[in-house]
């Protein structure tokens, strides 16, 4: 059995992210809001976020808490429908020569861990497209 790492990741044949989108202004939020932080609107619809985008910024993290494997590439991706998403850049060597700002990326999923009942936690990252 597989479960998503976070509730805004939807698994299945076409894994994707879902955001709460303000019905008034279109601002998107991962996580619940009582009112839109941009316009104050109180109605939200569930919106599917594009799985492709460009690399907006990154850092190659070499120092983290003891149980976190390093180095890894932390990234902010701007999806093709204009939503910013934070995740790791995956399937790439963690070296500045291998990463270029503005590069095309696509969402991919992988198993991040297995619990004692055999449940797999599925995470997402962005790989060079």
């Amino acid at each position: 059995m597989q479960i998503p790492l976070v509730d805004y990741l939807v698994l299945g044949d076409e894994p994707h992210l879902r955001a709460n989108e303000c019905a008034d202004c279109g601002a998107r939020f991962f996580g619940r809001r009582n009112a839109c932080a941009r316009c104050g609107g109180r109605e939200f619809i569930s919106a599917r976020v594009s799985g492709t985008g460009t690399l907006r910024t990154f850092s190659i993290v070499h120092r983290a808490a003891p149980t976190i494997p390093t180095p890894y590439v932390s990234a902010i991706v701007r999806t093709d429908d204009g939503t910013s998403v934070r995740s790791n850049l995956i399937n790439v060597k963690p070296h500045p020569d291998q990463i270029s700002l503005g590069m095309r990326v696509k969402l991919e999923t992988y198993v991040a861990g297995t619990d004692e009942e055999g449940k797999e936690a599925v995470a997402f990252g962005y790989a060079p497209a």
């Binding site: 479960i3 998503p4 991962f30 910024t57 850092s59 993290v61 808490a65 149980t67 890894y72 790791n88």
Partner: protein, 400 residues
């Protein structure tokens, strides 16, 4: 317009790691130093604001009173991330402007020791995955969905600027740290006072590319304090007190307004730009008038983008600004002559008061070896993630 407010006295302890002094000792030293410097006593104070982050629930302000004088005045214990000190300062400014006080004491203090990374938790291996928290996460997400660590978050802020602007990269960020380490050699109160070559800065252990160890501020202990006075009381002070006083010509606190990417990457730019615009307007000065700036260089990547946010350089020109040496002590607009957070240190609650100490000391012409010649206007800036930005503009007395 509300009445003018002046820094009458100011003092800071050295920043470092002091095993023989707790936060109350450090705060008391700074507070008494500021009172003595202003030629006043604790019994003259109408209000005390005490900025402290990591012991925020301890009644730090009242503990300081017990150490230096319990006069029964109101105490405001202030906690606002890395903007804590500036927020405490502003608390007293607002009280004086509201005519609830004539004289007030601001103390900022932090005892951190060697804390290491301040964010980014270890991943606990759960036996059974159950969704929890605001995002229904089944395990710790730091290091899987990007980074929570400060060197990484501020690295991303810098690399975003590099994405949008020409001529900005690892070397430009490293030059910022080279400058601040060099500046700190002239500051006897700095936590570190060692010069490094650009190669040494770039070659020190990588924390979060492009921030190497020498491009990150240390944790540490320290305190700073200011005595503030409103203009009505100021008029009755001695000529000597008036001539050494420093005028606060702008005091601004902003938070981060909505931007699309803000939920994923803290936006340290917009709130700084908004605060700077308001502060320049209040003070009636522009960035070209500044003799010196003490800004929030928690990481080298942060300082570089604030050259642009504060209007110190042409839009998009922060890389060129550092390349031509403009923010060096002898350059066009000296930035972080104290050594900055990177080398002077960053005991969080003290930082936003210590930068007022630094700028005031230059405006008084009392900064010794590191004095910026002829300094008459200066700006202080802090950012607390979450986020808040505090900016103060200070001016030389002009009464001689």
């Amino acid at each position: 317009m509300a009445q003018d407010i002046w820094v009458l006295g100011t003092h800071m302890t050295a920043f470092g790691r002091f095993s023989d002094q707790d936060a109350v000792d450090l705060a008391a030293t700074a507070a008494l130093g500021a009172l003595d410097d202003g030629g006043v006593g604790i019994s003259d104070m109408d209000i005390l604001a005490c900025g402290n982050l990591f012991q925020a629930a301890s009644g730090m302000g009242q503990q300081v009173q017990k150490q230096i004088g319990q006069t029964g005045i109101p105490v405001y214990n202030v906690s606002n991330a890395c903007a804590t000190g500036a927020t405490a300062l502003r608390t007293v400014i607002m009280a004086i402007r509201a005519s609830e006080a004539d004289l007030g004491l601001v103390v900022g203090v932090e005892k951190m020791g060697k804390m290491g990374l301040l964010a980014g938790g270890a991943r606990k291996e759960k036996n059974v995955y159950e969704p929890s928290g605001r995002y229904g996460a089944v395990m710790g997400i730091d290091g899987i969905l990007g980074t929570d660590t400060m060197p990484g978050v501020f690295a991303q802020a810098g690399m975003e600027y590099a994405n949008d602007n020409e001529g900005v990269g690892f070397e430009q960020f490293a030059k910022v740290a080279q400058k601040n380490h060099s500046h700190s050699t002239l500051n006897p109160l700095a936590q570190y006072r060692r010069e490094f070559t650009l190669e040494e800065v770039m070659g020190s252990p990588m924390q979060s590319y492009p921030n190497t160890l020498l491009m990150c501020c240390p944790t540490g202990d320290g305190a700073a304090a200011c005595v503030l006075v409103g203009e009505e009381r100021f008029a009755s002070l001695s000529r000597e007190q008036q001539s050494r006083a420093v005028k606060i010509s702008a005091s601004v606190l902003t938070t981060d307004p909505y931007v699309e990417s803000g939920q994923m990457q803290p936006d340290v730019n917009t709130l700084t730009r908004n605060a700077a615009a308001a502060a320049y307007e209040q003070a009636g000065v522009g960035p070209e008038d500044l003799s010196l700036v003490e800004l929030h260089d928690c990481f080298a990547t942060a300082e570089l983008i604030h050259y642009d946010n504060l209007g110190l350089c042409e839009p998009g020109g922060a890389g060129d600004f550092i390349d031509r040496g403009a923010p060096w002590r002898t350059g066009k607009t000296p930035v972080n002559v104290s050594g900055g957070l990177i080398s002077k240190g960053h005991p969080i609650g003290a930082t936003g008061v210590a930068n007022v100490y630094e700028v005031s000391t230059h405006l008084r012409g009392e900064a010794g070896e590191r004095q910026v010649p002829g300094a008459n206007v200066g700006l202080t800036h802090v950012i607390g993630l979450g986020s808040s930005c505090g900016i103060h503009i200070l001016e030389k007395s002009g009464i001689g």
